[in-house]
Symmetry: D2
Subunit: 410 residues, 4 copies
């Protein structure tokens, strides 16, 4: 047992930290100004400064760090985790700049693992080069779609084509016109065994019948700097049969494979986000004076700061151990721990943001600090990729089985 990062990780951490400080931070206001001037407020990948930042990131070897194997930087999950944490500290832009932003990362993983050569050529390559963006269309407004058997979108074979019909929402990134490809989850066979009913299919954005209705909000935020969260209607959308990912009925299994790494990325970024909140909290507490002494000398404020530190240290370690498990025993072997961090991260980090906001008073709710918007993002993690309650139930079931087995083995 050993708790230091390896040399490559440390070097990349320094490189990334330096890049974000020297390049991204000064460019951040430029990005938002340029974004504001675009005719389409969702088209963030067209912002000129983004291309410059990406070029520099790539030059430094800070590119596709999330992706193991030949297509990516070849890092393990454990090596990538501290890098993801660093991007999580640096707000809304860092992950996208180094081509490590959701949902593209998950989609690239799906294509690299399950895509045909043709699919890889057509969609994975431009994604790896950040020439296009993508979206992942899973959630539906009308059902509890965390239960995959509830999904109502249909993908029906018709000759050499599949016909897609359904309504999806909160499809992150899809308001961006550069999100050229959508991975859509739907049912090919509603009568099959419950986890073999679903399939995934590639639907180019410009296919007739794809109707992008509107951007959904998150606590009033449109998140247009990320491509928003689209509501999309698929109305007799026809795509070639070869657009199916894997075979009919593979949809559920692919989505599970996709979610493992995705969750750990979210959690590591959440750890970084929490670190930023703590830093802001401490700064504010030192600077504000009320009733004769700085906030940093008030007992309640100290309790917040201490508990935040205690909580985030524990959370980080569990995330790192989960990454290590994924590397050593595989995503399946790390299933319990992946669920555990999925449950723990938004709980812990949400608590920290609540206190950070409180310490900033009205400013904490405002557009002048990153707190309220980050808190809203963290809040979504208790719902996205399945609400906490689904994971809690599943984790408990496995614990009960494990304990029953241990009792029987005595």
């Amino acid at each position: 047992m050993e708790f230091t990062y390896d040399a490559r990780t440390q070097e990349l951490c320094e490189n990334l930290t330096d890049f974000l400080r020297t390049h991204m931070e000064p460019a951040e206001p430029v990005f938002y100004e340029q974004l504001g001037q675009l005719p389409n407020r969702w088209a963030w990948s067209e912002v000129p400064v983004m291309a410059e930042l990406r070029a520099e990131a790539r030059r430094r070897g800070l590119w596709n760090l999330f992706l193991p194997g030949e297509h990516g930087a070849g890092l393990t999950n454990l090596q990538y985790a501290p890098l993801a944490e660093i991007t999580g500290r640096s707000g809304h832009l860092a992950p996208a700049i180094i081509n490590c932003g959701a949902p593209d990362t998950g989609n690239m993983e799906v294509l690299s693992m399950f895509g045909t050569d043709k699919q890889k050529k057509e969609w994975l390559e431009p994604l790896l080069n950040a020439e296009i963006r993508s979206a992942f269309a899973m959630t539906e407004p009308e059902v509890a779609s965390s239960d995959a058997t509830n999904i109502t979108t249909r993908i029906e074979r018709d000759g050499d084509e599949y016909v897609v019909n359904g309504r999806k929402w909160y499809i992150s990134g899809a308001m961006n016109p550069n999100a050229k490809i959508l991975i859509v989850m739907g049912k090919t066979d509603p009568t099959a065994e419950r986890h073999r009913q679903q399939s995934m299919i590639l639907v180019p954005r410009d296919t007739p019948g794809v109707d992008i209705k509107r951007g959904m909000q998150v606590f009033g935020y449109e998140d247009n700097d990320h491509g928003g969260h689209a509501e999309i209607v698929f109305d007799d959308v026809r795509v070639p049969a070869e657009n199916l990912i894997g075979d009919e009925g593979d949809g559920f299994a692919i989505s599970q494979a996709r979610l493992g790494p995705g969750r750990i990325h979210h959690c590591m970024r959440a750890v970084g986000s929490a670190e930023r909140a703590i830093a802001l909290m401490c700064e504010r507490a030192d600077q504000r004076v009320a009733f004769g002494k700085p906030l940093s000398e008030q007992g309640t404020v100290r309790e917040w700061i201490a508990q935040a530190r205690v909580k985030v240290e524990q959370l980080r370690l569990l995330t790192l151990k989960t990454a290590w498990l994924m590397d050593t025993v595989g995503n399946k072997g790390a299933h319990t721990e992946i669920q555990a961090i999925k449950i723990a991260a938004p709980q812990v980090v949400g608590w920290i943001y609540d206190k950070a906001i409180q310490l900033h008073g009205a400013g904490g709710l405002s557009q002048d600090f990153p707190l309220a918007q980050s808190a809203a993002l963290i809040r979504t993690l208790r719902i996205a990729d399945g609400p906490d309650e689904v994971h809690i139930n599943s984790l408990a079931k496995r614990e009960l089985r494990r304990q029953a087995a241990a009792r029987n083995a005595r």
Copy 2:
């Protein structure tokens, strides 16, 4: 001891409930459509349907219910409380329609209690008739302004005038061009005893030097249907000396007098808001099915619903008792209880909204349900009118004194 509302209250409750259901609810989409078509998105009091609704409310005697005495409807706080609760259930519009919306209510109270005849004629009368709106400029961006000694805005006498200099933010309602009058809190004498340094002064919106900079957000919400939350710079703003409310040095005392009723109104509306959240929670829980049974049959969901009911029942009773104390022993005598509900209401109602959002999944975060926006509003109550921590500290000090006295009396 008796727990039924009196006959007049019950009758007004029925009248108000009926009015909201038959008139306001159908008009709500119309309001937002008309608001969207205005050239100035902040000018909600110009929305045509608002005038119609107000006329009907007035015709029914549902007008200025919040204001005791001759100028208002003559209700006690205890009588008004259940009415405020009902408006809290009915979203963003009801309080304004019946001329019982913050911050106008507090400002009318100040004018009716402390205004000169001239001030009343000029500003109170049009406010009572909803011809104009108002704002209350207290909070400052650069200091912890819940500690009144921190206030940096200056109000300096110069001949027959006062000159106001300072920066305020989160001045609710002030983005609305119809908010013709601002009550500004500043220091007339920074060397006086700590609670005699402050004064309040009436500053007409169109006075030269009043610079309304921008609308502040709450999470991502602009609250333009309420006139938003302005940042305002006062740069050598000159008003006649007669615009002072009360005497120099009265500012802190007036603000305390203003906040008592204001807080109980917020709390009663919060109770109503919680009731709506519970209603939505129950409806959703009955309608959604996951993993083979409705959410309303899942243990965790039932726990949320039960705890919500248990919490809100307690909160309502404390709010009502506080109203009764204000009526019987005065705002000062009810000081502890006013602080207690100010502390309790956002805690309790915020918890309920968190669960209601979780139960609605992505929808809970969206613009399609009133949950996220109401949760954001409730969140502000832990900061507005002084952050919880200030009230907690003060309430504890009084409890310690009271207990010490009781020990000594034995």
Copy 3:
């Protein structure tokens, strides 16, 4: 709506407070010394000073206050509630001294409501005079007996007798040899409809086959000053058929009727207990100095004190309203509120004790302060008369039904 206690209640409150201060408090150490000298440590009703205190209480009219109607003091639940609160402040002895202690109160209620004349004469009268004590044998060690269908104790008719077989535990008061009569819940017909299987029967303590095995502990406490919590085996125990309370199958209904008032008494005493904890907290905080200032000036301690006050004010009001509802619409009409206080009281009061203990350091855990023992008692309330989870589930179900009805009525 009105929040003052009526004149009779106020007078009784003063009388009771005076009695406890002038008579009970000085006698408390005497009681424990005399109890320690008894040959049987469970036989608290034989302690000489108890008889003197009871005589004085009775002389003052402080007797059987809990019991409405002819047999008792004729108070309403609302009138009794503040008196129960006062006894809750005064530790382990006050309720028993004024003959208002559990489980005797509930048993007297059952006998007065459902007993035959013969049963009343034989058992109710001596209980009303505190000549004997009683116990209520419901909980079983081997099943989740909060679900009445799980009860395994059998009550079988055999000619003119019933034969009782089963094992019960945590039968409070039953270690006291003066607990002459046990009310036993068991099944007369396991094949009947689920709430008609159970019956209640009077079993005199000295009936052959009644085997009182041992005193169960609560944390490390034996509660011998209350008669402890017995484990009892009933082995072919024969009693006359006329000992049945009500008819065969009435057991569940009687137990429900019994629990309503019992719960509100527990809750009001819990409120009083919380008040005592707050008083001790404030005293300690003023007296102890750490790191240069009294604990009462530390922010965290102030937060505990303030939140304790805020919580207990709400809890008391809900308890009082519940009492009022029981008086005005009956125990059945007050069902939701009774469950609500049953859920809320131990939550709130347990939280307060946790803080009070923490503030007292090691002393808080010790036998030198009443905190740890009271905290243990409060902890039992989350389990006794059905664990929280059962009440939470049931309250949620009713709320869901109520909300569905309201939706349908629109």
Copy 4:
């Protein structure tokens, strides 16, 4: 970074687990029976079966595992941590059997680090051989003794002797007559700098003037199987000057050195204790049926189990990392993390016990399950070695300093 235990640790874990299962578990009832038959109920080290168990443990190399360096087993903190966890699962006896029980471990550390050769010969050697037991007399009843400047016990030089006067309580283990040596903390110079006023001195139990008054309780428990928690008066107790540990004024520094490892041992055992609680929770949940299904299928119960697992995984990792830091950068370098686990462990494990008790109903509070007693022990950890609030305050201060330094470095 690596998360597997090394080979020696794994082997010792297996050895220890096997020993506890095959030897300690069967001997547990024997121990309590034999303890019950001793004339002195506190004299647990005289229980015959204890000697047998110790001999077997020693034979297996399971002895003094806690102590690094030549005197002990030579393990690192990281290697010892999982072993301590295992003893924490196995209730009240395991640590003592392998000579790794508090407070002896801390006292042995003090003597091995700071003792003179003579002190080591006289006291450390018999402690290492478990021939005698010891106690550590720090806490005082009359002051907040977590603030070392508050300590009132005096250690005054008089010729070749020191004279000790003062009152201590909650001196764990000291009721055991075999606790032959007490390490007493007192002030040699109340006028010195605040952390140089205190000294530590060895006081043999049988020195005239040492008056062991009584055993203090913890939630009703006497803990006589651990030697209880004594109140001791030191009345002109004279010991040779050579009994001082280190120099005059070293007391505070020694106590800090002592507490580091002591805390991590407590925390690792707490992790093991939590694991046992989870195991019991799962077993109970599978076995009990209420309202038609096992408790393990109820949503609320599943939530408890899942959250317990999520919390304990995080806690264990932080404890292990802290152990690793102590090994690599020293106790001082690990100060923040030591405080963090001291804060986190009782919070997390206390929460788990609360749920485990609830799941066991009345049984959870009883002497038939280890839950209530273990919960009481865990509760003491929020007070022992300084209450949480002291550590929270100190950790926050360090975090604020660290963050300020980071800001300045930018």
